[in-house]
Amino acid sequence: MLAEKALDLVRELHRSLGGTLSPYNEDKIRQVLEEMQTLYDQNKDGAQFAAEGQTDLISAIQVRHAGIQRNKRCLLAYLYTRLEQIRKMRWEFGSVLPPDVKYNMCEQEVQWFNQYNRLLANYMRSVGESGGLDLTQDMKPPKTLYVLVRCIADHGEFETQDGNTVLFKKNSQHYLLRSECEHLIRQGVLEHIIQ
């Protein structure tokens, strides 16, 4: 059936949307491009006959052209949605991706991630005059200045703004400035406890 492989690509990615990024399906993408090329070649050969108005050839060209468009749309949608997932990762994981997530990304996607990182960093720096504003902070409206946190795993020493060093040992509890430990909470190192 026309554009069957392209549809598989879309279905595969659609299934993995809830969880993590599915591996970059290099060979299926190549097959889709080959199908497009063969359809295009068939159209080219048929083109000179069609000039003489043989409707059956013209309609065949139309069908193949629709197939090419469909392949193109599925492929681009696959790549674009993966970019959206990768962009979301920048906000969730931070600027460094864990290795096994990167493993599922192709070389160009990793480069794109770095590009996006730079773009975002430049944008954040240019907000306001003094040193810009880190948009990845303050994800939730702050309710208290200090928060009680519990360490989920040993994380070693941590330097606070006012010069104290805190040792994050597993299951120890600390009462710290919210702004300082928010990113650690998001990374899953600390857990916020509600009194």
Binding site: L33, Q37, K72, L75, Y123, Q137, D138, P142
Partner: protein, 230 residues
């Protein structure tokens, strides 16, 4: 400690704080600016499309935060008001970052559409994007295009090897329904155009009313501030 007192009064809206850019606009106190920023933030949050940027509000509030932070640094360590002011700074910073995050998401979602719209608005007095946002949008657009090109489009047959933006541009759903509150009474607002089976529908929006309606007819009113989304 006097400087902390000064900030309180500043925030309790009696000493004017004139905007740096457009002098002729009547001077607004810090809390009024904050009020306007909150409104802009809510409008941006609930509007399906990107609203013109309120960069003067953002700049002014950021300057305000820096001033407050400088003051707090000088205050005595034990002062009770420090934590109150720090809390206020955190909350203002949250509003600003959330506002900019929402705009960023819309820019990333409707990049091509936004860039086209920006062409029209660039020179008017209500630009859609701030300079930083424009630069980000251009950079983001080219990064996506170059990625799609060298992973797929480059290998495609010639006649389809390019992206025509009309077909692929993601357009915001301006017809989705929104909740809104009327700030200033505005008469005969065209709600529904003339259609074959239903006549034209005109409505008066009275102050204080609340409605649920399509966004398109009230888009201009939201920008002018006559109506705010809730």
């Amino acid at each position: 400690m006097s400087d902390l007192v000064e900030i309180d009064s500043l925030l309790s809206s009696n000493t004017p704080l004139n905007n740096t850019e457009d002098g002729e606009e009547e001077a607004m106190t810090a809390s009024e600016v904050l009020q306007k920023l909150e409104e802009a933030w809510l409008n941006e949050k609930f509007a399906p499309d990107l609203l013109p940027v309120k960069s003067n509000l953002v700049e002014c509030m950021l300057a305000q935060i820096d001033a407050m932070e400088a003051n707090i640094a000088t205050a005595k360590k034990g002062d009770f008001r420090i934590s109150v002011h720090r809390m206020e700074i955190d909350r203002i910073r949250y509003i600003i970052s959330s506002y900019l995050r929402i705009r960023l998401a819309k820019i990333e979602k409707f990049t091509t559409h936004v860039l086209q719209e920006e062409e029209k608005h660039r020179d008017t007095d209500t630009p859609l994007l701030s300079d930083a946002e424009l630069e980000f949008a251009k950079g983001y657009n080219s990064s996506v295009m170059s990625h799609l090109t060298n992973t797929a489009l480059r290998h495609m047959p010639a006649n389809v090897a390019s992206l025509n933006s009309k077909e692929t541009a993601v357009v915001p759903l301006v017809d989705s329904y929104v909740f809104l509150k009327v700030n200033e009474t505005t008469e005969n607002v065209l709600i529904e155009e003339e259609t074959v089976d239903a006549g034209e529908e005109i409505m008066d929006l009275l102050q204080g009313d609340q409605h649920i309606m399509r966004y398109r007819p009230v888009a201009s009113l939201v920008e002018s501030g006559a109506v705010s989304l809730i």
